[in-house]
């Protein structure tokens, strides 16, 4: 099966099996098969197996969709979960208040994932990761203002950040707020909130002003620190911890969904 540009190659035979040839190419393959009985036999068998596989799976395709896969039911279950989570988070809810009602979800509709600029998110992730490495090992002064003065802490950080900031309650994941600090970040100020679990493991939530269009989560791993970062409405957010990606993701998603779920619940109720 070697030769000039018109020679039949294996790709042609596969396309023939899949019924994806037409015109001259189809005629050429048919002519070739007419002359090569052994190849023809093999191609016919492959066609038959392809058809058999489709046939065996036809009944599955035709089955009615079971109720648990109805989108309305899945959406309702999601809302219930989010509300439960929001309920559990109670008082100090995780929300960065980003303009009521509209929500991030609506704001992000149509965002082109491939075209969004990666750079600002990466910068936020790097800043967050650096801040994490600097302060998470700190024994004497891990935070500037501790959680006992939470109201003062948040008021202070919100003023410096130019954004109303509420501390996420990560108690659901076993993390309690230790406190926070102000840092230089980008062209302005950045806020770092630090959390600790019963085992002394720490994670941080980092927020600063950031340029660039809204993005999806970006994951970054630096040394021991994993970071999920995203940008929304002029601010960059990052959640950093010495956790494997799959453990950190639900925490980052909870921050994100807590907000989306809350506005959703408000709208529905």
């Amino acid at each position: 099966m070697t030769g000039g540009p018109d020679a039949i190659i294996e790709d042609d035979l596969q396309a023939y099996v899949d019924g994806r040839l037409d015109g001259a190419r189809l005629a050429a393959v048919e002519a070739y098969l007419a002359q090569h009985a052994e190849v023809r036999e093999r191609v016919v068998l492959e066609q038959r197996q392809r058809a058999a596989l489709r046939g065996q799976l036809e009944a599955k395709f035709a089955e009615p969709i079971p109720p648990r896969l109805w989108i309305a039911n899945i959406q309702a279950a999601r809302r219930r979960r989010l509300r439960r989570w929001t309920g559990a988070a109670a008082a100090g809810l995780l929300l960065f208040t980003v303009g009521a009602g509209t929500g991030w979800m609506a704001g992000r509709r149509g965002t082109d994932l491939a075209a969004t600029t990666a750079a600002p998110t990466t910068a936020v992730a790097q800043n967050a990761s650096a801040a994490y490495r600097t302060f998470v090992v700190e024994v004497a002064h891990p935070v500037e203002v501790d959680a006992q003065h939470q109201a003062h802490l948040l008021q202070w950080l919100s003023r410096r950040l130019g954004k109303p900031l509420v501390a996420p309650d990560l108690g659901h994941f076993g993390y309690r707020l230790m406190g926070g600090r102000l840092l230089p970040g980008g062209r302005g100020a950045a806020a770092q909130l630090m959390y600790e679990d019963a085992g002394g493991r720490r994670l941080t939530v980092y927020v600063r002003a950031a340029e660039g269009s809204e993005t999806a989560f970006r994951f970054q791993h630096e040394g021991e620190a994993s970071t999920f970062a995203w940008i929304d409405q002029g601010f960059g957010f990052a959640v950093t911890g010495a956790l494997p990606r799959e453990e950190l993701l639900p925490i980052a998603e909870a921050v994100y969904h807590g907000f989306a779920g809350d506005t959703d619940a408000v709208r529905k109720n």
């Binding site: 596969q14 596989l53 065996q56 799976l57 009944a59 089955e63 969709i65 989108i71 999601r78 491939a114």
Partner: protein, 168 residues
């Protein structure tokens, strides 16, 4: 998210078919599809409006299967080829036997070849779409497709010989 339902629901039968072919268990397959739909809804806003929804959903489901479900399945009880139910099959004629257990034979292929045969041969994805979905160049799709079909032929052939020997 009002339009999610209208857009997603027509895709579900094909997602169930792909999931079932991968897992060969009706309940587990629906678990996988449910995971896929939940994931799709949570990422709904990040989806490209101009993108191919079907390819996006299949990519999500395939990734979920590869990252989580394959292990779960391996821990389960494997169904022996002989015990696997073969719906609507009367193994009387040679021609029937030759092809009747393609789905079971498919099970013996590595996941990538299995997905390739399903996405191209059953779900009718173009070679280009399949390449994007599986994260490989289209040339690789072609050569692996050829190899997958070759292996499938060999497996079915071996199965047939075993079956004939047992009948004698």
């Amino acid at each position: 998210m009002a339009d999610a339902s209208a857009l997603l629901e027509p895709q579900i039968p094909a997602l169930r078919r792909y999931a079932y072919a991968l897992l060969r268990d009706h309940d587990l397959a629906d678990d996988l599809v449910q995971d896929t739909l939940e994931r799709a809804l949570s990422r709904w806003a990040f989806r490209r409006d101009d993108g191919d929804l079907r390819a996006w959903l299949f990519a999500i489901q395939r990734n979920l299967y590869v990252s989580r479900w394959r292990q779960r399945r391996r821990r389960g009880t494997p169904v022996a080829l002989d015990e696997a139910p073969l719906p609507g099959v009367a193994p009387r004629q040679e021609a029937t036997m030759e092809v009747h257990d393609v789905l079971a034979a498919l099970d013996q292929l590595p996941e990538e070849q299995k997905s390739l045969l399903l996405l191209v041969g059953v779900e009718d994805f173009s070679y280009d779409d399949a390449a994007r979905l599986l994260g490989m160049p289209v040339g690789t799709v072609m050569s692996r497709l050829s190899r997958a079909r070759q292996r499938l032929r060999a497996i079915v052939e071996t199965g047939r010989t075993t079956l004939l020997r047992r009948v004698k």
